[in-house]
Symmetry: C2
Subunit: 144 residues, 2 copies
Amino acid sequence: MFSKACEYGIRASIYIALKSLEGTRVSLKEIAEKIDSPVAFTAKVLQQLSKNDIVESIKGSSGGFEISKNNISQIKLSQIVYAIDGNNVYEGCGLGLKRCNAKEPCPVHNRFVQIRAELKNMLESTTLYDMTMGLEQELTYLRR
Amino acid sequence: MFSKACEYGIRASIYIALKSLEGTRVSLKEIAEKIDSPVAFTAKVLQQLSKNDIVESIKGSSGGFEISKNNISQIKLSQIVYAIDGNNVYEGCGLGLKRCNAKEPCPVHNRFVQIRAELKNMLESTTLYDMTMGLEQELTYLRR
DNA sequence: ATAAATTAGGACAATTTTGTCCGATTTAAT
DNA sequence: ATTAAATCGGACAAAATTGTCCTAATTTAT
Ligand code: FES
Ligand code: FES
């Protein structure tokens, strides 16, 4: 579904959001630990997210990553996915034709666009804030 | 969503089904041409499908691939996907945790399983026969 | 000023996926 | 029997993705 980079990106964003809500900034090292991801690879993903204004990175000693409270409730899951995986999720054809195209549809087009519309709807209606709920009470997990 | 191998596999199966309904067997070369896929790579995918009894391969001169009429209406899209991509579609976690697990869910689990259930339902309710409809009248395409 | 802790970024390496090549095997036609 | 047309299967190659390493730059604390 999503690339590894994107999966790490989402998990990282959720963790940063969680800690930002608690008022603390987190380091790359801590993030990678808490979401169980390769440190250096996660660094690249975070750079990408930082460039796309999903997370804010602060350099130097006592630096790290954070997300403003306002952004936590504004940023949609769809934005994170788009920042890393681009719009393949939306524009790709289920059978791999150059581009999904209703004028010259593939044999699964009609069935596929329905599923995708619901996926799109889900991604666009889920905020970072939504995804942090449940983590505190261990109703959900970012690693296992 | 699906791997390239799987995309080619689905398109190939649909084309073979189409021709089998017309009573003609098709060669690898013709398949690759009609679905616009790399010949040798498609051969591997067809071997896989043959081993999984999705398509029937006939060796030798005047050989090729075919699917029995009975199977065309029985084979589900889900079986083709499973034969090539395995069950990642069903068992994978949206955020990349080892395995989707309702007891220790990731933050998108509840939203994700819904989408997946609909995808699963679609894959399991779409037959090869369903996907051949529309191709003759060029209402749908296997290449562009 | 210096040291320590941190992110940024480039180069590289490993792995997986995708794709190619070629000889072996099978079958049908001559 | 020989030849031609086809799939099979192993080895290889290319490309994309995933992951690592190291140095530079930035900021804070001493
Ligand atoms: S054309 Fe294939 S999904 Fe739309
Ligand atoms: S645990 Fe992540 S989707 Fe089920």
